[in-house]
């Protein structure tokens, strides 16, 4: 599988740079801190919860907020990881290596995308180790945990697709990073204006576009195909745009 070869190289290149290791370390450290403070809060709340006979447990109080914070932090981190995918290769005139080989543009773009996404999956795996450590002492709502993990994986798949596309647009990695962050933030907060738009259709459209809405549904354990479809739509759109943009490199005027 030629795409896996490309993905493997991409992943390896990421791990050869200090940036990826730093990102992993910082993210893990901050989330561990949040995790511990959340756990502390749960320990304090536990007697009251028992008295109220409430339907919420450790998964809702400790784990769901962790993934919420992780999602927000990843919005800032993913642009740093995707920025070099194409732009750096273009800047160092290394795209010729791929263009001269018997590869199609689709294979090149998807290969690189898969490589970066594999890194994101590893990152998710590391984050998930923290909630799983609670299994040593208590029972978890594994269904809810799975929904949260799926939610964050889909979110990152969408983030990465947007990041890869932004990277095809420029030769400067920093420009790619800043513009990716801009797009992600806009998609995150786009529903804030939702209530203020008078038109109901427009407001609904803004609500639909918001990544936050679709992510929150999953992290509450609500598995809805329309949310999955939303992510697939974003991934496909930006992959197709990337392929077209890279193809246009050969047509430059």
């Amino acid at each position: 599988m030629i795409m896996l070869t490309l993905a493997q190289r991409e992943l390896r290149a990421l791990f050869l740079s200090p940036l990826a290791w730093t990102v992993l370390a910082v993210l893990q450290f901050i989330l561990a801190y949040l995790f511990l403070s959340q756990l502390q809060e749960y320990v304090q709340l536990q007697p009251q919860l028992r008295m109220m006979n409430a339907a919420v447990g450790v998964t809702d109080i400790v784990i769901v907020p962790i993934y919420g914070s992780a999602a927000f932090m990843l919005m800032m981190v993913v642009p740093l990881l995707t920025m070099r995918v194409i732009s750096d290769e273009r800047r160092n005139q290394r795209l010729t290596l791929l263009f001269s080989a018997p590869l199609s543009m689709t294979e090149i773009v998807l290969g690189k995308y898969l490589g970066v996404f594999a890194f994101m999956a590893i990152m998710t795996g590391l984050i998930t180790l923290m909630p799983l450590s609670l299994l040593l002492g208590t029972h978890l709502d594994l269904g809810l945990l799975a929904a949260s993990v799926l939610g964050i994986l889909l979110l990152m798949a969408a983030f990465t697709a947007i990041g890869v596309y932004m990277s095809t647009l420029t030769v400067q990695p920093t420009v790619a990073a800043v513009s990716t962050f801009g797009v992600l933030l806009l998609l995150w907060i786009i529903n804030w204006a939702g209530g203020k738009v008078g038109d109901e259709n427009a407001s609904g459209a803004l609500q639909y576009l918001s990544m936050l809405n679709h992510f929150e549904a999953l992290s509450k354990g609500v598995f809805n195909t329309s949310d999955i479809f939303y992510y697939l739509l974003i991934i496909t759109t930006f992959m197709v745009l990337s392929i077209r943009r890279l193809d246009a490199d050969r047509l430059q005027h």
Binding site: L97, S100, H253
Partner: protein
């Protein structure tokens, strides 16, 4: 059947905005041939190379690689090409082995053959010893060789090298020229350069490109003929008068360069060198130097392009 045609290029053009970087060029490359692409900077050499290797879409024209149209069947066509661009596309964080392994894989070499292909390429380019070193730590000459190894790893029918000897020291240049000659035995090689002696040493056929047009295309022997000197540089310890020199048979004109130095112009077909030496001994002029002057690339260009302009003006 004689040598197989590897590349056919018909009416190839490329415009950047209103500027024609390459203007309707036609040529062919056969197996076992080293074709030199010669031209001054900005003549359109690199643009042509990029189009042949599928890195740049042509504005017009057709390129067929081993019978496959580059636009209709890019994968089949590209599998037959190895390309070293002006700047070698290297991953500086990778070791030579890792890099070549990646190149072998993206060129779809079967898993079982990768090891042999890598060893072969490394051996041909003299990289056997540096396999486990990081590319970024290698000298420019070695990096250039890694670039060439990358281009030949899948034993393509055609190897395209864009200015492969730029920035190398004289010993490395000689080694790489030898490598190019070796490659020319079984592959078809296109070599782009602006160094004239390089073409004379390595190529079988030469094409001169100037302002996007092919102005000369012939065997190297014919180029050499064109380049044959039409002047001699002469230094004498006891020089006679210029008139005495110009009376020697075959000398058409004498330029006095210094008190002891002269340039003798003559017809390209017959050199008066022998007569000059004879006279010098007979009259004890004290011959110190007698050198046929070679034409430089610039002179050839001026000659070829000026005749072009003449014919154009006449037409």
């Amino acid at each position: 059947m004689t040598a197989q045609t590897l590349i056919e290029v018909e009416h190839l053009s490329r415009y950047f905005g209103p500027i024609a970087a390459v203007n309707a060029i036609n040529f062919e490359l056969r197996r076992g041939e080293v074709l030199g692409f010669l031209g001054p900077n900005g003549a359109g050499k690199s643009t042509s190379m990029k189009m042949i290797t599928g890195n740049l879409a042509p504005s017009a024209g057709r390129i067929r690689i081993c019978g496959h149209d580059l636009l209709d069947q890019p994968k089949l066509a590209k599998a037959e090409i190895g390309y070293l661009p002006e700047q070698p596309p290297l991953y500086r964080d990778f070791t030579v082995d890792e890099y070549l392994q990646f190149c072998a894989r993206i060129n779809r070499i079967a898993k079982g053959h990768i090891k042999t292909a890598m060893d072969n390429a490394k051996q041909r380019c003299g990289l056997t010893e540096v396999g486990s070193r990081l590319i970024g730590n290698l000298s420019k000459g070695f990096q250039q060789r890694v670039g060439i190894a990358q281009a030949i790893i899948h034993t393509p029918a055609i190897v395209v090298l864009d200015e492969p000897t730029v920035g190398l020291d004289p010993i490395q240049i000689r080694e790489i020229r030898k490598l190019i000659r070796d490659l020319g035995q079984e592959h078809g090689v296109i070599l782009s350069t602006h160094i004239l002696p390089e073409v004379q040493m390595t190529c079988d056929r030469v094409q001169i490109i100037h302002r996007g047009k092919l102005v000369f295309s012939d065997d190297v022997s014919n180029l050499n003929e064109r380049m044959q000197s039409s002047s001699l540089l002469l230094t004498l310890r006891n020089p006679p008068s210029a008139a005495a020199l110009s009376s020697i048979q075959g000398v058409s004109q004498v330029e006095v360069l210094g008190p002891n130095q002269f340039r003798l112009l003559h017809a390209t077909t017959r050199s008066p060198a022998e007569a000059v030496a004879e006279q010098s001994v007979k009259n004890s002029w004290g011959l110190c130097e007698l050198t046929p002057e070679r034409k430089t690339l610039e002179q050839i260009f001026v000659e070829i392009t000026s005749t072009e302009q003449h014919t154009e003006a006449a037409a």
